[in-house]
């Protein structure tokens, strides 16, 4: 059975009628160079393999800008046909309110349960045993990206872990470079904080605080050293004044900064700039200290629309997104990992291979999106934004962090 007949049969299960060509409006916030290249792979595949048209509804900014727009449209009764959302707790209430299309039947027809690896990705699409979203990629945030050019300029070796990086920082500064590139936005600073936590406090304490919301551990010594490390990192990023994450990545690409802590999506930017892993840049998952990655990622949701033709096309798109060809093309462009364990990713570069190895060896953690509510995340991001941009002491920041964790739900 080829893909198209599979899709058609999946659609036929639901509505039992022939499928007319429709336009599907798809919203997302993938607007950087690498992201736009990845999303056009999806659009291309959709146009080529089905009769329908992909109407692109990109919203620039970040998830923070796009989500209000997406959610108010769904609530307002004029939803898009499909939309990117980080899975996890963000969409629980929308599903509970019955605003999302149930994908269980095509998921069963496509055997998603056996395909999706790690299975936690599908679990966070599942509510009361029904499946409501298609995971499209795995993103992990715990990466340190290093510019070979910058370290060559400074005359030191490219570091192998975070400690070496900190030790090399003075040489970079002496050469007039910024040691750590950091976009001045709370979510980016929060990623750096989370990554340093896993590296310094260790996985156990991280899990205790983030998943179990244990405020005592958050107030303890291991987190104390985390906040001190962040305060040190803050000094390394003093002269990094850009806002957007990809502008910070650009500082690494052009050798103006030594490194950046950013998720694996930064990979796409290196690729667009024509750089080669291990030759122009290096990547250290888990900061080279703890070989674990979280497995957040993007997923597509399909708001309910009262039109059998659109409904059928929605299901076609859902099945297409998880198909092997699309998974390979999309994830290679985006620099993220595929959600299926059964496909050949040998064309991936050495950074992605590292990620795949960690994934295969089971060094995976749930992502923040799955453990913390958007409310808690926003508060932590506000705290991090303030901490990184001011002279707030590590002790004070930790005390406030403990308060947030204590109130988290």
């Amino acid at each position: 059975m080829n893909l198209k007949t599979k899709l058609l049969s999946a659609a036929a299960i639901i509505c039992g009628t022939s499928v007319g060509a429709v336009e599907l409006e798809v919203t997302h916030w993938w607007t950087s160079g690498g992201e736009a290249a990845a999303v056009s792979e999806l659009a291309k595949a959709f146009t080529a393999k089905t009769d329908h048209t992909w109407v692109d509804g990109a919203i620039a900014g970040s998830g923070g800008t796009a989500r209000p727009i997406i959610i108010s449209r769904i609530l307002g009764g004029d939803p898009m046909a499909a939309t990117q959302l980080n899975h996890g707790r963000q969409s629980e209430e929308l599903i509970e309110a019955g605003l999302m299309t149930d994908l269980t039947e095509i998921a069963e027809a496509g055997g998603w349960k056996d395909l999706v690896n790690p299975s936690s990705l599908l679990d966070s699409c599942t509510l009361d045993g029904r499946i409501y979203c298609v995971p499209v990629n795995i993103h992990s945030a715990q990466w340190l990206w290093l510019s070979h050019e910058a370290f060559a300029t400074a005359g030191v070796d490219v570091p192998k872990d975070w400690h070496q990086f900190v030790a090399a920082a003075p040489a970079l500064q002496k050469a007039g470079l910024v040691p750590l590139a950091m976009g001045q936005q709370g979510w980016q600073q929060n990623i750096a904080f989370g990554t340093l936590t896993i590296a310094i406090a260790g996985v156990e304490d991280w899990r205790e605080v983030t998943v179990n919301k244990n405020a005592e551990v958050a107030a303890g010594d291991s987190y104390k050293s985390v906040f001190e490390a962040v305060a040190d990192a803050r000094e390394l990023a003093r002269d990094s004044k850009v806002q957007d994450w990809n502008l910070a990545t650009n500082m690494v690409i052009t050798g103006k900064a030594g490194g950046q802590i950013m998720g694996d999506w930064a990979q796409g930017e290196f690729q667009v700039a024509g750089q080669v892993a291990d030759q122009d840049y290096s990547c250290l998952p888990g900061l080279g200290i703890n070989q674990v990655l979280d497995t957040g990622g993007d997923a597509f949701y399909f708001p309910k629309i009262d039109d059998p033709e659109i409904h059928a096309a929605q299901l076609e798109l859902a099945a297409l997104l998880i198909s092997p060809e699309v998974q390979v093309a999309f994830n290679l462009a985006k620099g993220s990992l595929p959600v299926r364990g059964d496909i050949d990713m040998s064309s991936a570069n050495s950074c992605m291979q590292k990620g795949l190895e960690i994934l295969a060896s089971g060094g995976v953690l749930p992502s923040d999106d799955m453990s913390l509510s958007a409310d808690t995340t926003t508060q932590i991001e506000d705290l991090m934004a303030e901490f990184w941009a001011s002279d707030l002491s590590a002790t004070e920041a930790q005390a406030r962090y403990v308060d947030i964790i204590a109130d988290a739900d």
């Binding site: 736009a36 900014g61 727009i69 108010s72 004029d78 502008l247």
Partner: protein, 306 residues
Amino acid sequence: MTDTSPLSAGTAAMTGPRGAKPKTRLSRRNIFLYGTLLLISVYYLLPLYVMVVTSLKGMPEIRMGNIFSPPVEVTFQPWVKAWSEACTGINCDGLSRGFGNSVRILIPSVALSITIASINGYALANWRFKGSEVFFTILIIGAFIPYQTMLYPIVILLREIGLMGSVWGLVLVHTVFGMPILTLLFRNYFTSMPEELFKAARVDGAGFWGIYFRIMLPMSLPIFVVAMILQVTGIWNDFLFGVIYTKPATYPMTVQLNNIVNSVQGVKEYNVNMAATLLTSLVPLVIYFVSGKLFVRGIAAGAVKG
């Protein structure tokens, strides 16, 4: 968003400038006067100058030079790119798509909001009924409530009447939020018109609509001009309602502008951003430069009279 609410104040009549007779020679007073004005003009013109100059430079020149130096090599490429090539996601058609949408949103919004507000103002000025002032007071207080407070209830309201996401939903929102200020403007204007006109028409047996169309409307050109300028600029410049209550197919130009400015692919292209900004501002700017004098006269008639 333009917040204008010219409110009632003392009486005024346009009779030209006041003060001492101008002296023709170059006195110390004149040097001080024109010197100050020139200095202030620099502050006001600087951003426009910088925007224009930056939009005409290539990226290498921007990175090297300072923002105030005129372009060494004039290029219109940023303008072309901003209008028709800049990308958001996989759509690479720049601002051009938003222009038509903005026009389609603008015309009905301006027409509807001014029509309703002028009738409101007329009723409030000449046909007051029990409770009319209470509604008006609520309306005026409404003008000061942050829009954010209203976003959510309006999503629900639009959903209930089935206009969410359509151009007409947005037209309705603009009409509602333009109403307080425009109503106030028209009310003040109609109140200042001679009482006798209205009385004479009543004696002749003219009714509510008769007086409105035959007497009030023909006499209220200045205030219509002010209302139109305020609404055109306010609605054209709106971002918040445009982004929340529409969808990509109907996004106005300001939303496209935001998309272009925030879609950074590789490096930030300041020249394209500035060209896009200027293109988006062109309509209200032209209106102001063309009708500045009328606007000032109208403000005097609508805002200060009362």
